[in-house]
């Protein structure tokens, strides 16, 4: 039994894995809510709508965590991903499924006890809620306890990304419990704050939190007072609030600078024949190895991810450009036959372990290895732009995969020349010989294909 390092905050349950399967223990504090939701058919409805990850009750085994009253088995997700890696639209979909679930279960006397971005995950075809124990009986007349969390996990980062700068989504790495609302309210242009949804749920909300904090600071000097009364929210009012959030979230759209990826076709140094030969080779390798999981590192718009996915693999497409990952997510959503998760990440600074003890949220390496990694037109960027020696790149890739399809771009390639044009020869060693020596320490060379433009594709296997 291995307890999930990220599942400890909610005392009502815990995730653990055993023999590769994922289980959820429900402890005594969570039993009442779980049984009520189960008996009312709430879980079945949410699963049928594709809003909640599926589960089945199984007998608790001797290795289940102490205190387990009910045990659930869940399907294993192909990859855990985090909001600091998500394209804008995954964050938006994660927000929308929370609100759709609320709209569905509120009339039946239930609600979500939390609204955390970490409760949403890509299950291979869509974004679903993964925390079964989020569903609980609504406390009559009570405000929604997760309203503040929803706004700081979804509304604030979405508004900052869409109306400030898309790169602000990377602030998630610092604000792992959600973006401070005052930060978001201050970071979006003044006129945007007057949109009704943002005015109410972001600007006034931030102001209310500020006033409440100040009041509590003053009150905190004496003995704590026992609450006599709390704000009341009627059923009708809460449904209205959720609908208002729904309209607000729907209305936040990131208008990508389309120039970014549409120009890729023009700027790349490939001729049609090179592209065809490269695509055919990727197709051949994916067909021969038949991998379950492929990580496409430096995926750009995901041309080769799509080829790998057409062989039935689950593909994680990683690129540093949020416009590329957004484009690919929307393309992959439209084509349900392929299973692709695009993630935004600077590969010279891949996702670290974060949260409590730096282990609550996994690093990229922790989530591997993949069966096959594609590193096409990537190495020269890492060596010449990010200044990482080839040997270290090879060592790192060796921790991520079993098989590696890597492209070597020769030093006389126009792209390489462009990268080092202002360096006056002062750059890390970069040649075919250095490449083969570096990678030869960690991989065996299985196959290769040289394209007409002089670039070479190598199929490597970890030693």
């Amino acid at each position: 039994m291995v307890a999930d390092a990220g599942s400890f905050r909610d005392p009502s349950g815990q995730i653990f894995s055993e023999n590769g399967r994922i289980y959820r223990s429900i402890f005594q504090p969570g039993v009442d809510d779980y049984e009520a939701a189960r008996d009312a058919g709430v879980y079945t409805d949410l699963m049928e709508e594709g809003l909640l990850v599926s589960h089945e009750e199984v007998p608790a085994g001797p290795s289940s965590p102490k205190g387990t009253v009910i045990c659930l088995a869940h399907p294993r997700l192909p990859m855990i991903s985090y909001p600091w890696e998500w394209p804008f639209s995954i964050l938006k979909d994660a927000a929308l499924i929370h609100l759709k679930a609320m709209e569905k279960i509120l009339p039946r006397g239930f609600w979500l006890r939390d609204a955390s971005a970490f409760n949403a995950q890509f299950d291979g075809s869509r974004v679903v809620l993964i925390d079964t124990l989020s569903v609980g009986k609504r406390v009559p007349e009570s405000p929604w306890v997760a309203y503040g969390q929803f706004c700081s996990h979804f509304l604030a980062p979405m508004a900052m990304a869409a109306y400030g700068d898309i790169r602000m989504l990377s602030l998630w790495r610092s604000f792992i419990d959600g973006f401070p609302l005052d930060l978001a309210a201050g970071a979006i242009p003044f006129w945007r704050r007057w949109r009704p949804g943002l005015l109410m749920h972001l600007a006034l909300h931030a102001r209310a939190q500020d006033l409440a904090d100040r009041k509590e600071d003053i009150a905190g000097k004496g003995p704590p007072k026992i609450a006599k009364k709390q704000p009341r929210v009627s059923d009708r009012g809460l449904i209205g609030l959720i609908r208002s959030l729904h309209r607000t979230i729907e209305g936040i759209r990131w208008k990508r600078s389309s120039r970014l990826w549409e120009a890729y076709g023009d700027i790349r140094t490939y001729q049609d024949e090179d592209v065809t030969r490269k695509s055919e080779y990727v197709d051949k390798v994916a067909g021969a190895l038949n991998p379950d999981t492929v990580w496409d590192l430096g995926a750009n718009t995901g041309e080769f991810s799509l080829i790998a996915a057409s062989h039935g693999a689950f593909v994680v497409s990683i690129d540093g450009d949020p416009a590329c990952t957004e484009y690919l997510y929307q393309k992959a959503c439209a084509d349900k036959s392929k299973s692709i998760l695009p993630l935004t990440m600077d590969l010279a600074n891949p996702s670290p372990g974060l949260g409590w003890d730096s282990r609550e949220r996994f690093s990229l390496t922790d989530r591997g290895p993949a069966d096959l990694v594609l590193a096409l037109a990537l190495i020269h960027h890492l060596v010449l732009s990010a200044c990482v020696p080839i040997k270290m790149v090879a060592q790192w890739l060796g921790t991520l995969c079993q098989d590696l399809l890597v492209e070597f771009v020769p030093p006389d390639d126009p792209m390489v020349k462009k990268l080092i044009r202002n360096r006056r020869g002062e750059h890390l060693p970069y040649s075919m010989e250095v490449f083969q020596t570096g990678f030869g320490q960690f991989f065996s060379f299985e196959d290769q294909e040289t394209l007409p433009n002089g670039r070479t594709l190598f199929l490597l296997r970890r030693l």
């Binding site: 309203y147 939190q209 704000p231 009627s234 209205g240």
Partner: protein, 72 residues
């Protein structure tokens, strides 16, 4: 609807008079609970006005003998 007549800061201060009780393992945050109570009250009022307005329209439609799909 009286709070609507006050400024937003006054509304918030008015409701801050009530301290809060949490029903959750996450901190619902006092300010978040107060502002949503205000917003939810406005939303509920808007729904009520909507329903009331529809009834007036139905009444008037009935009064002038027009057929209406929503009538039984």
């Amino acid at each position: 609807m009286a709070p609507v007549l006050l400024t937003s800061a006054q509304c918030i201060l008015l409701l801050l008079v009530f301290a809060t009780q949490a029903h959750a393992y996450i901190d619902p945050a006092t300010g978040s609970m107060v502002i949503q109570a205000i917003l939810a009250a406005i939303a509920a009022a808007a729904v009520s006005i909507g329903i009331f307005w529809r009834r007036i329209k139905l009444f008037l439609a009935g009064l002038f003998g027009r057929k209406n799909d929503e009538q039984p």
